[in-house]
Amino acid sequence: MFSPISPIHYLFVGIVLFVTGLICLVTKRNIIAILIGVELILNAANINLVAFSSPVLFTGQVAPLRLDGQIFALFVMILAAAEAAVALAIALHFYSRFGTVDVDRGDSLKG
């Protein structure tokens, strides 16, 4: 269970990161902390993609995905950076409008 590192070990690291990111997403009310939770979730997806594409983790039973997983992980990284930039701009706008970063205060659309 411990010695030959298989993709399933990476999957468990991905599970930990995904669940912690989700908890962070639900429990925090600071908009920056919510962004941090989103980054954790995206990293969990990246870990899975890299694990399934890795040529060193598979020991002869199944062929790894090789190139496709790494390129998708690369795209996820770029999109995460773009998402962080836009979300930070929205957070700054939110702060200048409401004077706080508490997302519960942004209830102007509530009828």
């Binding site: 993709p7 399933i8 468990f12 790494q70 706008h93």
Partner: protein, 219 residues
């Protein structure tokens, strides 16, 4: 004694780093500490990428995430925190909702991970046999293959150990172009959104509430 397995030792070391950073993010009530925990977690993930043979991705993880995204988040913290150590309060019902969401999800994800067939020695669903994979799996993924795939030439990694590049619709030229345009749109959009002050249309429609909730007001 199973021998000195450096791969396993380093994996557990890096996995503990990644998971500890993620736990710091969740547990800490201080936004600055959460950002530092995110840095630790992303660093551990980058080390895991290096260990899995994805060196370029690990380097990109360090450059884009740790060097770019976390710096953006740190700027966000600095620009929006009113005091140096901004506390975040979490009520009990929020924790209840979080646990109600996280526990079933954890169980489902662990079941899904354990049902992954190579762990049981089951047959792979994809039509790739062991003899083929043993030839291709030892060959590392080079940056040349990644770059050529982004330019529309993709390696044919399924039938031989030789790197054969062919022109076809299996490359990633179109997503590469799309993401370039997307980054340009994001650049313009973020610069537009983050301008100082409120746009005129929003300010005129809701001027009273904006003046009430200026940066000087308390929450």
């Amino acid at each position: 004694m199973m021998g000195f397995d450096a791969m396993a030792i380093f994996f557990w070391l890096f996995a503990v780093v990644a998971c500890a950073g993620a736990l710091i993010v969740v547990v800490s009530r201080n936004i600055v500490r959460a950002a530092v925990g995110l840095i630790v977690s992303l660093f551990g993930v980058a080390l895991l990428f290096f260990l899995a043979g994805a060196e370029f991705l690990g380097a990109m993880q360090l450059m884009i995430y740790v060097g770019g995204t976390v710096v953006l988040l740190a700027f966000g913290v600095m620009l929006t925190a009113r005091t140096l150590f901004l506390r975040m309060s979490t009520t009990a019902d929020q924790w209840l909702v979080a646990i109600l969401l996280a526990l079933p999800l954890t169980v489902i994800l662990i079941q899904a991970a354990l049902s992954y067939s190579p762990f049981h020695g089951g047959q792979p669903s994809i039509e790739r046999t062991a003899e083929k994979s043993s030839a291709t799996s030892v060959r590392p993924i080079t940056i040349t293959e990644l770059g050529m795939a982004l330019l529309g030439f993709r390696e044919n990694g399924q039938n031989s150990e030789a790197v054969t590049l062919f022109r076809g619709n299996q490359g990633y030229l179109l997503p590469f172009e799309l993401i370039s345009v997307h980054l340009l749109v994001v650049l313009i959009g973020a610069a537009y959104l983050a301008r100082r002050g409120v746009p005129k249309t929003m300010a005129s429609s809701d001027a009273a509430s904006v003046s009430d909730l200026g940066p000087g007001s308390t929450d």
